[in-house]
Symmetry: none
């Protein structure tokens, strides 16, 4: 079945709010195996809303509308949908009681325009709103369905979970199942080249690459009658991708980020970690500390932005700073080994680079970054050339540092080999 999303609200058209409802509804619908080919946003304007709704109904079986169910006169989604479906509005006594109760329990005065919210298209399925006044509505006619949901996410999401999903699940058996193969330290084009044959010949499952900062995700998606069948379709493709990308895949779990994978690796090997950052100025530590429970492995972090701090805090040699400069393979090495001495952490990671916009030269351009990683005395330093803004160079450096940490730990403990 085909679903289409229409979000109603002038505040979305003006860019005052980000349309998170569309992302939420899209993800939910995809999970239910519904195909979605279009999303639209239209303002609180009867004529344009009517046109958009008619177009959507023309090409989809189900149209989900969100927003414009409020009590004020510029909220007219319900009126428009009722007109399109030719269903007159009638007072729903159950909703009226619920709205009156809503105001009573909150010791708030109910205004006349709130009564408008209890009007429903005749014959509609009414969905109670546990977190607000406007009820949700399902309108069915001639094989088409319109689902009306309130705009505030804290009303929309629970209503979807509790009422809309069970309703949709009954409409069609079949499901969509996805698994994401996450690769770090390899560019999008290189990944795409390595899977082009799979993409070219794909039917079910499909493979789609998504570029993230310092990562590429390959999403394998299958359609099937049930979850078991879908998983069986996805499994051999994931296996094939594992063969092709090997250790460069850091996870196939949906909720595992790169920093989570690194922290898991530290926990699994009972390793403590310290960071020592110059140009990233705490961003690497901040990403590791995103992970709840990192306290078991994180010893301490240092931000040594100045040369003086590099010398004083982790004992980088004055002569090295003088001879090679702060942004050099040698200084990255001394930062990593120095912090291992100072903090006694098993793994130490150093970042020193030129994030720009100033401070670059011909030999050392903006974007030159050295990252060092010391695992129990074995130190690796790599040179990187990043491009883009100061912010992007710093973010790229953090992703590269996490990738290098992961690689150095794996290489220390096994014979793991990497493609990239």
């Amino acid at each position: 079945m085909v679903v289409e999303l229409v979000c109603v609200g002038t505040e979305i058209l003006l860019g005052n709010i980000v349309n998170t409802n569309a992302a939420y509804l899209a993800e939910q619908c995809a999970g239910l195996g519904l195909s979605c080919y279009y999303q639209s946003v239209v303002g609180d304007n009867a004529e344009r809303l009517k046109g958009t709704l008619a177009t959507a109904l023309g090409r989809a079986d189900i149209v989900i509308l969100s927003g414009g169910l409020g009590p004020t006169t510029d909220d007219l989604t319900k009126e428009t949908a009722a007109a399109v479906m030719e269903m007159p509005l009638v007072m729903d006594e159950h909703s009226l009681e619920r709205i009156e109760e809503f105001f009573r329990t909150r010791h708030l005065e109910m205004t006349d325009n709130n009564k408008k919210q209890a009007l429903v298209p005749q014959g509609a399925i009414v969905l109670d709103n546990a977190n607000g006044t406007a009820p949700g509505l399902i309108l069915e006619k001639g094989g088409k369905r319109i689902i009306l949901l309130p705009g505030p996410p804290n009303e929309l999401c629970p209503m979807f979970e509790n009422s809309v999903r069970p309703y949709l699940e009954k409409l069609e058996p079949g499901i969509i199942y996805s698994k994401t193969v996450k690769i770090c330290g390899m560019g999008e084009s290189k990944v795409a080249t390595l899977v082009q044959d799979l993409i070219d010949s794909q039917t079910n499952p499909t493979v789609a690459p998504y570029a993230k900062m310092g990562e590429v995700h390959l999403r394998v998606t299958a359609r099937a009658q049930d979850e078991k069948e879908a998983k069986q379709l996805v499994k051999p493709m994931v296996k094939e991708l594992k063969n092709r990308f090997g250790a460069d895949i850091y996870t196939t779990e949906e909720n595992v980020t790169l920093e989570r994978a690194v922290v898991d690796l530290l926990l699994a090997n009972e390793l403590t970690v310290s960071t020592i950052e110059s140009c990233t100025g705490g961003m690497l530590a901040a990403r590791l500390i995103n992970i709840p429970g990192v306290s078991e492995v994180f010893k301490s972090g240092y931000i040594t932005y100045s040369n003086k701090a590099k010398r004083k805090v982790v004992g980088v040699k004055k002569s090295s700073l003088h001879k090679y400069g702060a942004v050099s393979e040698q200084v990255a090495r001394e930062m990593a080994t120095g912090s291992a001495m100072v903090t006694k952490a098993d793994v130490t990671v150093s970042v020193t680079g030129i994030a720009g916009p100033d401070g670059g030269s011909t030999e050392k351009p903006v974007g030159l970054v050295y990252i060092g990683c010391c695992v129990k005395g074995k130190t690796t330093v790599r040179e990187y050339h990043f491009t883009g803004s100061r912010a992007k160079i710093r973010e790229s450096s953090v992703s590269a540092a996490l990738t290098l940490m992961r690689r150095c730990i794996l290489e220390y403990y096994s014979e793991t080999t990497f493609r990239s």
Copy 2:
């Protein structure tokens, strides 16, 4: 003039990513005085994209498309737009050189599919991409305009600022001029209450509040024939807002962020700074180090996530940790004063709190954060109660720390008083 936004990407239709580009472009277009009545999202599918683009061109003067300019075969926005405008694709040597240079400076191998990105519709205006390979494009024909932008926000936003905005500004005489009054440390509803009378009676200029993390921005916008006239309309309103919010306004400059304002204050008073973070784990230092030139004031940063690190690195007393706990007014104070002793910085800032999701208790719930700021021996500690996810609590803490630093420095050097 009427603009319409079309975002291209199966990942948006599947709900894998939130469509922040639409919000950004919508806000920018509204700021330029362009009317936007529709936004659409369509997948990487030639036929559906063609239909959507034709519909958009039928009802708007300008269609802005984002996404689908990547190197892979499923990226076909450019091909579709060129077909709709009947402009054949030709190799753009300048873009080809830029893309080759992009790979060369990164020491990356350029694959054949990257060459595809240098193909442009004949006669199109080419917009250089400072942060990626795909150039932006402007196609003009028969009074209609299509603007193609890359999907990644870090490529799209700078390209809009640098190339698209100046292009759009020239299209229509009369201008829109805005000035933003940025307030820190005061909630949105309080700010809104204090300006409600101005919003109710507004015509030209208008005042609109925007809530940001830990900040509220009031955007004053005027329409006029030329910049001089617009500035004269905006000026008295900004003056009125300055009267109402006083020192809680940290800037009225478009490109000054809160961290920039804090760094400017440090530079102006020749003060050095050190940070000492627990739950924010480097995020505060990272935000300060966003500012180029911070090296003149930033001494060093410490991330003392564990109790041991708090004791060892900045000498927090074991007895204080035992008696009051790591998340306490006393420990925040000792972290700030201890790092002043260790680093000899003029200003030290400490953050200790419970970011969750675990670790909270009845007396010390998740979201409880203490922030200390020591300016030349005078220490202030404040208690905060934040809500939301671990990430949100940490970000709120960083904004609050910057706000407190600004306030403590201003209070140390002057008789500044704050409303909030």
